[in-house]
Amino acid sequence: MVFSTSSTILGSVKVGDLVSLNARVSEFRSASRPNDLHLTELASPTNITVLSSGNPIVPIVLGRDRSPPTQYLSSLDSGPDGFLSVPANQSLQDTPDRQLYPASYGLDFWESLEGQVVTIPKPISLGFGNSFREFWVRGSWRATGVNGRGGLSITFGPCDLSLVQARF
């Protein structure tokens, strides 16, 4: 993800452009939200050159091309109650940095999709949105924690993290 506040830079490219640029790699996390995962950004972009235009963007169709795992949240969690086991204190998933296992762990799966364009087939809202118009959804992929109201129940033990936050 390229971060810039320059309208000149943002206006110099359009979706479908193949570009090259210089930038500083940055792992961003708000200082006020120290438990969030980092976002990899390309900061202070310069020398943006459009190499070609009109290239197709092919989204990854979740549930078809890839499906989220439904058993484990993270390899850091241990014990009979999974991510709710104590002592826990493993909320900082990337400290220290770890290898991703997207086929096994929910957090790793979503992290592996960072910066990707995806299609969520038949999204079902799992709650009300926040002030950023973000809300949690699940798509038409296999989920083990679906409850009677169509939501996802998170319980002790294996954790179904087959949900994603979306913004519309």
Partner: protein, 159 residues
């Protein structure tokens, strides 16, 4: 659009950003099935599912930067350079190699040149003005048709 994964609300798409993605499967990240079984999937970014032998959740995988992951990145870079050689005569760094197979980028803090990728989306965050009070002002007549509040645009990083 995925707005991002966070532990709570507010962590999401950043304003004034564009997403650039690998230009081909050569720029994809290869995720191993286990530390001892590196696995690269043919035909694009992805992996086999279902996972045949999930590691036990008790296992902790600690990344040693400069170890096996370094080798994986180097392999990926090499493949990417070959794939992009028709596009640019100079060496290019791909988005896939920057993101790498771990939570954090191995290039964190480094300034890179000739990063090549495809613009997949342009995002500018609009911050709404505060929600109107649940109880309208007694001076405001109902259904007055007053103009809507102008959204506040703040083109900067907010989350």
């Amino acid at each position: 659009m995925i707005a991002g994964l966070s532990s709570g609300p507010g962590g999401g798409c950043l304003p004034g950003t564009m997403w650039i993605i690998p230009t081909s499967s050569a720029g994809c990240v290869s995720y191993p099935h286990s530390p001892s079984q590196p696995h690269k999937f043919p035909g694009g970014c992805g992996y086999d599912f279902p996972y045949p032998h999930p590691p036990a959740p008790q296992t902790m995988y600690t990344l040693a930067l400069g170890g096996t992951t370094e080798a994986t990145l180097n392999d990926s870079n090499l493949t990417s350079l070959l794939a992009l050689s028709l596009i640019s005569a100079t060496s290019a760094t791909t988005i896939g190699s920057i993101q790498g197979p771990t939570f954090l980028s191995a290039y964190n803090g480094q300034t890179l040149t000739n990063i090549t990728g495809l613009v997949a989306a342009k995002v500018r965050r609009l911050i709404r003005s505060p929600l109107p009070p649940s109880n309208p002002s007694p001076r405001a007549p109902p259904h007055s048709g007053s103009p809507a509040r102008k959204p506040m645009t703040k083109p900067s990083r907010l989350v």
